[in-house]
């Protein structure tokens, strides 16, 4: 049985939906055993109920850990109540890890991407969205060779982020969240599951990015050159 080390960073709109769907697949898969680390320093609040999957108020990583561990006993869960920064990223992500990046800022995407580029065997599946559209990026590096471009390569907004990580934000900034749509979060998390199935289960690596738009009801995959 193949063992997979998975880190899910960000357990908000995309991450909380993704986690439950992914764990259902992994828990009942005959060929896979999984260690999942849940990472988020933020707290679930009442206002998050409209689009995030959780039962109780508290730290997102801890709440998800508590709720998932009973539902999916075959998976080895772990949680980290922290935000990712340059100093702790190497404590959370090791070689041969599948990273699901479900954060709400480009700064954290940049930190994770730059760190993962220094590893030899790593997979990043990163999702992000605006109100009604979004994208999923897939970075695969095997045996030191990049098989897809890194998530900064075609995205200057991630390469040179202008936003802040949650750690750098004030309480006021953290409380100011722009509106999001549950269905868009659901779209991003679903495509991240597609990416996992293709890259990890089927070992098909060609697509590096998928855009989707729930208003035009379209998705479009991209295969891009490695820079």
């Amino acid at each position: 049985m193949e063992n997979k080390n998975i880190v899910i960073i960000g357990l908000g709109g995309i991450g909380s939906i993704l986690t439950t769907k992914l764990c259902r697949f992994l828990n009942f898969s005959k060929d896979l055993s999984s260690n999942i680390t849940l990472v988020d320093g933020d707290e679930y609040e009442m206002k998050n109920y409209e689009r995030q999957e959780f039962m109780n108020i508290g730290n997102k990583a801890e709440i998800q850990y508590t709720e998932l561990i009973g539902k999916f006993p075959k998976i080895n869960f772990n949680f980290k109540n922290m935000f990712i920064n340059k100093n702790n990223v190497d404590d959370i992500i090791d070689e041969n890890t599948i990273v699901f990046l479900c954060v709400d800022n480009h700064k954290t995407r940049n930190i994770v991407s730059n760190y993962c580029k220094s590893l030899k065997d790593i997979i990043i599946i990163s999702g992000g969205n605006e109100y009604t559209d979004g994208n999923v990026q897939i970075y695969v590096k095997k045996g030191g060779k990049e098989l897809t471009p890194d998530i900064c390569a075609y995205h200057p907004e991630i390469d040179l982020p202008l936003d802040k990580s949650p750690e750098d934000m004030s309480c006021e900034e953290l409380s100011e969240s722009s509106p999001q749509l549950f269905f868009t979060n659901l779209g991003a998390s679903t495509i991240m599951c597609w990416a996992f199935y293709n890259v990890v289960v089927k070992n098909e690596v060609s697509i590096s990015e998928v855009y989707f738009d729930i208003v035009s009801m379209t998705s479009l995959s991209k295969t891009r050159k490695i820079k």
């Binding site: 960000g10 908000g12 709109g13 995309i14 991450g15 479900c102 954060v103 709400d104 800022n105 480009h106 995407r109 990163s126 999702g127 992000g128 969205n129 605006e130 559209d133 979004g134 994208n135 990026q137 998530i151 075609y154 995205h155 200057p156 907004e157 991630i158 936003d163 722009s178 999001q180 979060n185 991003a188 855009y211 989707f212 738009d213 035009s216 379209t218 998705s219 479009l220 991209k222 891009r224 050159k225």
Partner: protein, 165 residues
């Protein structure tokens, strides 16, 4: 034989001369033009109206003459040069004058052969939901905004990644 129109085109002096010298119609020296014309027509008679059969016969004769002179084109011999002959990877050997363009989840084929990136964006940016400042990729490579699109190119305008999650 004259028609009324033909006679009306002549001067009164010419008509009077015709009456005296050609047709032998007397008493027209002091008459007005209308009376002179009518007298000539009465004497000489209007040109007979052709029957349909006669008209058809005339037309057939004209067509026969034209066919003898102008023969139908049986072959062409010339050299033509076109820039629209590069087979497109997406459509095999079909020739196409449109170019595949995409931005985010929106894509389509557009008539932008020969246009620059800037012109293409100005024309179809709204349809593609592409910002005028979008970074263009042609066949996967970055190009300048002055790049002129040619047959077989594929264009992508990079859409920024979603920031929220």
């Amino acid at each position: 034989m004259f028609t009324r129109e033909e006679l009306a085109g002549k001067t009164v002096k010419a008509l009077k001369k015709m009456c005296v010298k050609k047709l032998g119609i007397p008493g027209m020296t002091k008459k007005n033009k209308g009376i002179i014309i009518q007298a000539i027509l009465d004497k000489d008679g209007p040109a007979p109206v052709k029957t349909i059969k006669e008209e058809v016969k005339v037309v057939e004769e004209v067509v026969k003459v034209v066919e003898e002179v102008v023969k139908p084109i049986s072959e062409l011999n010339f050299f033509a040069k076109s820039q629209l002959t590069k087979p497109n990877a997406r459509t095999g050997n079909k020739f196409t004058t449109t170019i595949y363009m995409a931005c985010g989840a929106t894509d389509g084929n557009f008539t932008v052969v020969g246009k620059t990136i800037t012109e293409s964006l100005e024309s179809f940016g709204d349809i593609l939901n592409a910002d005028l400042k979008s970074t263009p990729l042609v066949n996967g490579d970055s190009v300048s905004r002055d790049y002129v699109l040619k047959e077989g190119d594929t264009v992508e305008f990079l859409k920024p990644a979603g920031s929220k999650g």
